[in-house]
Amino acid sequence: MHGRPRVPLGAPEDPEKTKASKQRLALFSRLSNEVLSRRAARRYDPESMTLSAKLLEQNPEVYTVWNYRREALKDTLQGEHGPEAADAAVKTELQLTEVALQKNPKAYSAWHHRRWLVQLGVVSLERELKIVTKLLALDARNFHAWAYRRFLADRACVPAEEEERYSMDCINANFSNFSAWHARTVLLPQIHAAQPTTSLADLLAADNSQPSTAAPGRPGPIPRWALGQELDLVQQATFTDPEDQSAWVYHRWLLSQLMAHLTPSDSKGQASLQEAKAIRDVLSKEIVRCEVLLESEPDRSKCKWPLLTIARLLELRSLLDKDGGVQQGEADQQQIRGLYTDLMELDPMRKGYYKDALEGKAVVVTKPV
């Protein structure tokens, strides 16, 4: 049972509790028997619907009973028995799923029932968005609620910019909300795919009528100026709590987006050189940021994330230098090795990963998804 404390063996029984749980069992088993036999008999009368609702209020995951309600109510919901009956049925179903989700906010079946109602086109999308916003304010990491929100936003054609602002509000309320950081990884590429590119390299490449480096149907990386803003946001979060992994996982994505701005090596010209220099500058700036963070945190055991990030930034920088024909800085290589060696000690659970990274057998940044 998720999160239910164990009762010690031999603990004195509370007669009241025992009685209550016996009553609960008796009621639930009778209710189950009654509802499932009515379902088998295809009884769709109001009394049967009331009983099935009672069962779902107690146990929202009984999918067969949700199926039963959909079978019974589909025609009414779609207005076959008049608009009043339809309105009343919609109201009842929405209320029932609300009660069910209060009982168990992770009940797949209850979420699906609500989605099904939306798909029938009988529910106000605006109202639903308000409800899910309230729910996420109370339960910020509920992935069912986030999925439902995305589903609604798509249906209601909510602009990606609006949802992006919402994710920003969530992050400002709590930097540890990875669900909101994740939302940005979906929304930002959408927003910037729709906008003209501001990368000098891309403009020049277009001038030379070279084919775009982005795969067809796939948006290119988000522009560098936007990445800069995101890196600033990450800095705020990581300086607030350097041990929370949410912003660091997001930071890795930003780096892979940054590296995706590199034009392939077959088109080495002025533009790609400038681009490479700009990227190198961003990497160096991020290294400095991590170093500042390290200086402000005397407890080395809390420094895993900035240390790992510096190692990766250095790796990326030497990759750039190598591409540009600059001689490999032995000092950087030594520092990278030192960092991974430190990490093996600081974070021994992931020793195997750091060892592979040290030996060049694990690469998680340079291959953008």
């Binding site: 049972m1 404390p5 499932l36 009984v62 067969t64 994740h182 996982v249 659970m349 195997g352 998680v364």
Partner: protein, 322 residues
């Protein structure tokens, strides 16, 4: 090899107690849980039986009664319900196929009917609905591919399309969500990685990235969580572990710390394993805990296959290796 029962915490796997706990679960029809879990009993039985097999105690269970019960749960559409009184669903169809496979009894069902049920649930974009009511989720992609593969006919569904849908749910952190655009979750990562493995499409993954996200699930407790900054749990431990094993990166986590966490979740008095130490046990976590220890090669358990979550010898018999 020596029996490595004692791990970091000095605790041992209480095999007899867990076997007794599982065996008694089905008999206790007077509990609220017995009724509350009726709609997913097929999965409960699969978890219990597979755990018993791993413990080497499957013979304690009443095979004939169980098989007759499983067969009684097949619906007209070819799928299986969570129990006699429930509708067919992909989740329970897979559990039923797994139980039949475990007992070597797949010849007792009409395979074509099951395959046609599974393929009827594939959508245009390659995804799968869990049943005729249309809930789409990458969990169901796994159920569908696993079912077809165990029944020896993967081509009953459109595999390239199924793969393309799963890949569309791949996130920037290397994980997978329940549908495209949704946050990565360890349970979903298991489903998608295992499904891609069955489809022979692991090359569509960035292994290092996925496994780095997975190894970051291990918390100070030794257990693994399902998403960043969430609590560890024995079941998430299993899901991360299987994906790491399929992708050949088990050495990226601390195996001793994990086994010690699982052993600490045992109810040493009554048997069974819980999500976290000192919580109430259930068959679900008991299975995932034992399966995790088996995958780690500990406690002298029968080996389990990470992709199909069935004993290795059974999978070897049923699934043709390329």
């Amino acid at each position: 090899m020596a029996i490595q029962e004692k791990e970091g915490s000095g605790k041992v796997l209480l095999k007899d107690k867990h076997a007794d706990y599982i065996a008694s679960f089905e008999k206790n029809k007077e509990s609220f849980e017995f009724y509350a879990t009726e709609h997913f009993r097929m999965s409960g039985v699969y978890w219990g039986l597979t755990a018993m097999h791993l413990l080497g105690r499957l013979d304690v269970m009443d095979k004939d009664t169980i098989l007759a019960w499983v067969l009684s749960c097949q619906r007209e559409d070819g799928g299986f319900g969570g129990s006699e009184r429930h509708d067919s669903h992909l989740l329970y169809t897979l559990s039923a196929v797994q139980i039949l496979a475990l007992y070597g009894a797949l010849d007792r069902v009409n395979t074509d009917r099951i395959l046609s049920y599974v393929s009827s649930l594939q959508q245009e974009d390659g995804s799968f609905a869990g049943d005729s009511w249309g809930e789409v989720d990458t969990r169901f992609s796994y159920c569908a591919l696993s079912c077809c593969s165990l029944l020896g006919d993967l081509q009953a569904v459109n595999v390239p399309q199924a793969v393309s849908y799963i890949v569309s749910c791949h996130n920037i952190d290397g994980g997978f969500g329940c549908t495209a655009g949704n946050e990565s979750h360890a349970g979903q990562v298991f489903c998608c990685v295992a499904a891609l493995h069955i489809a022979g499409a692991l090359d569509r993954l960035d292994r290092d990235l996925t496994c780095w996200w997975l190894c970051e699930r291990q918390t100070k407790s030794g257990g693994l969580n399902g998403r960043p900054e969430k609590l560890q749990d024995v079941c998430y431990s299993w899901w991360c572990l299987t994906a790491l094993s399929i992708l050949d990166r088990l050495h990226w986590i601390d195996r001793d710390a994990l086994s010690s966490f699982i052993l600490q979740c045992q109810d040493e008095e009554r048997g069974g394993i819980s999500d976290r130490p000192d919580d109430m046990v259930d068959v679900f976590h008991t299975f995932f805990g034992i399966a995790g220890l088996s995958l780690l090669g500990l406690c002298d358990l029968e080996p389990i296959d990470p992709t199909y979550a069935l004993p290795v010898d059974i999978v070897q018999t049923l699934v043709q290796k390329e």
